[in-house]
């Protein structure tokens, strides 16, 4: 549905996004993650044809450029802050964009906004504004929805409600591109992860594959720690040692088993250390920074 191919985005003369390539299919929920200033919002704005870029963006085979927005009629978006007029009521803000009053009312009740929808939005709390911004993005049954930090200011109930709504829309074929700093929340909805750093996409994988592939280390216990130290060192295998517990790289585990077995050192334990999603992301970013420094 959405194809982003070799996209480079510039703001002024500065390049913000470098060679971004990915696809989004109907029903996908893509989590776009990365540190502050990584280029997440710029990438979202680029897809919406709001920045200068080269490369290709196609939505349902129709090209999107800075001046060509025809394909974006079925796209909903909430970027940075909810875009709402404070002098209008919530209902009037929705009416400005709604094609179907029934769809509009359904969203109001699903997001539990009925009690205040006829009030002027200048009196709304941050969470109420955020829900209205999400409702605007979900109006008119969009094919693609771009949400930048959608859970900002939402209380627990609202967060659960929005999560449920995202799942419902995705089940009907709507694709989502969502950025959030609350990784645990994103983890609950996304089916695929795109990790971006310094304007470059460094990971683009289905979430299950991502978690499986990026287990960081294994824990190792042997019956003879001293000999194990000697053997690992002599074979130039990297490890850390805490008491009698070794931590080793997953890539080395088969080699380690062969070495220890040849010297009749028996294993007491060899288990993957389960890392949280957050830890994996931090580790990958750290790894890339190291790589960047090395390349420099």
């Amino acid at each position: 549905m959405l194809v982003v191919q070799n996209v480079n985005t510039y703001i002024g003369r500065k390049q913000i996004i470098t060679d971004a390539t990915f696809k989004i299919h109907p029903g996908n929920i893509i989590g776009l993650i990365g540190p502050n200033g990584a280029g997440k919002t710029t990438l979202m704005k680029t897809i919406l044809g709001l920045t200068k870029f080269d490369g290709q963006i196609r939505l349902n085979q129709t090209t999107v450029t800075e001046n060509q927005h025809t394909a974006l009629t079925k796209v909903g978006a909430l970027i940075e802050h909810p875009a709402i007029y404070p002098f209008l009521t919530g209902q009037q803000n929705l009416t400005l964009y709604a094609h179907d009053p029934v769809d509009c009312q359904r969203l109001i009740s699903k997001l539990d906004m009925s009690t205040y929808i006829h009030d002027h939005t200048k009196d709304y709390s941050l969470g109420m504004k955020q829900k209205l911004g999400i409702a605007i993005a979900l109006l008119n049954n969009p094919q693609l929805v771009i949400l930048d930090e959608p859970m900002n200011g939402l209380d627990v109930e609202a967060t659960i409600g929005v999560r449920r709504l995202i799942h419902q829309y995705a089940a009907q074929g709507t694709a989502f591109l969502i950025s959030s700093h609350i990784l645990s929340e994103l983890q609950k909805v996304m089916t695929q992860v795109i990790l971006i750093n310094h304007g470059r996409i460094i990971v683009n994988q289905p979430i299950a594959e991502f978690e499986q592939f990026h287990h960081q280390a294994y824990e190792l216990h042997t019956e003879n720690s001293q000999l194990t130290v000697k053997l690992l060192s002599s074979h130039h295998i990297q490890y850390t040692l805490d008491g009698d517990t070794f931590q080793v790289n997953p890539k080395s585990i088969f080699e380690i088993q062969d070495i220890l077995s040849s010297q009749h050192v028996r294993l007491k334990e060899l288990t993957p250390i389960s890392s949280s999603f957050e830890q994996i992301v931090v580790h990958l970013l750290h790894q890339q920074r190291g790589g960047d420094q090395h390349n420099d």
Binding site: L48, L50, H69, I79, E80, A83, I84, Y85, L88
Partner: protein, 249 residues
């Protein structure tokens, strides 16, 4: 909603639209209370001819600036297939608002004149023109000058991006513009043929159409001053739209 309907919907719900009307009425009443009421006051719609351009520059720039303040420009831009439609729709609505202001000022003038000024509409006032003809000339002048002012306010808000600064420029134009223009032409008499086309000189349209004798001050004929206003409006639209297209969000 189409661009024009959506802009009308937003504009009519903004406080500045209603405040503008209220301020105009208050200023016209202020004029009655502080200045001698006579036929000249009627011709100039109790000061409305001067106040309308100032109100317009404030309302016009506020109407565009609020889209950037509320970040709604983002949705407006990505959902629009033609960017110029946004600019022209806003311009049309604000100019129509100037017609509403002019209409209100004219109606109020007619009411106030019937209550306070005994001079009949058919009375010859100056250059063998009746009170009614002079008032009509001023109303047409104000309408054309409003186009100049609205297009200028849109261009300025794209250029300066700070609403208060644009309103300040509007006030300066309204109070000092014509004085500066006359001073320039009096100082550099040899350059009058060029200086008479300066944008500050265009404000004389609000008086000259009613009183052609003002041509000796503006150094432009009525036909030239109408043309000048329209050409400046076209230049401001082209420059303003160019800035709008390039403005980063």
């Amino acid at each position: 909603m189409t661009s024009l309907r959506a802009e009308l919907f937003k504009f009519s719900h903004q406080k500045s639209a209603q405040t503008g009307i209220l301020i105009l009425i208050i200023l016209m009443i202020y004029s009655i209370l502080t200045t001698k009421v006579n036929s000249t006051q009627v011709i100039f719609e109790f000061g409305a001819v001067q106040w309308i351009p100032i109100i317009m520059i404030a309302v016009g720039s506020t109407f565009f600036a609020m889209e950037y303040q509320n970040r709604t420009i983002l949705i407006l831009l990505y959902k629009s297939t033609k960017r110029w439609q946004i600019y022209l729709a806003k311009l049309t609505i604000v100019w129509l608002y100037s017609l509403v202001l002019t209409l209100i000022a004219t109606l109020l003038t007619i009411v106030l004149k019937s209550l306070l000024v005994r001079t009949p509409w058919s009375a010859l006032i100056s250059n063998h023109q009746t009170l009614l003809t002079l008032l009509t000339g001023n109303v047409i002048g104000t309408t054309v000058y409003a186009l100049f002012i609205v297009t200028l306010s849109f261009m300025l808000i794209m250029l300066i991006k700070i609403n208060v600064a644009v309103i300040g420029i509007g006030l300066a134009l309204g109070f000092l513009g014509s004085g500066i223009s006359v001073a320039l032409m009096e100082t550099f008499t040899s350059l009058i043929s060029i200086l008479r086309w300066n944008p500050l000189n265009m404000i004389f349209i609000t008086q000259q159409l009613a009183n052609p004798a003002y041509a000796t001050v503006s150094h432009l004929s009525s036909f030239e001053i109408i043309g000048g206003n329209l050409i400046y409006a076209a230049i401001f639209v082209i420059l303003g739209y160019g800035l709008f297209k390039k403005r980063r969000i």
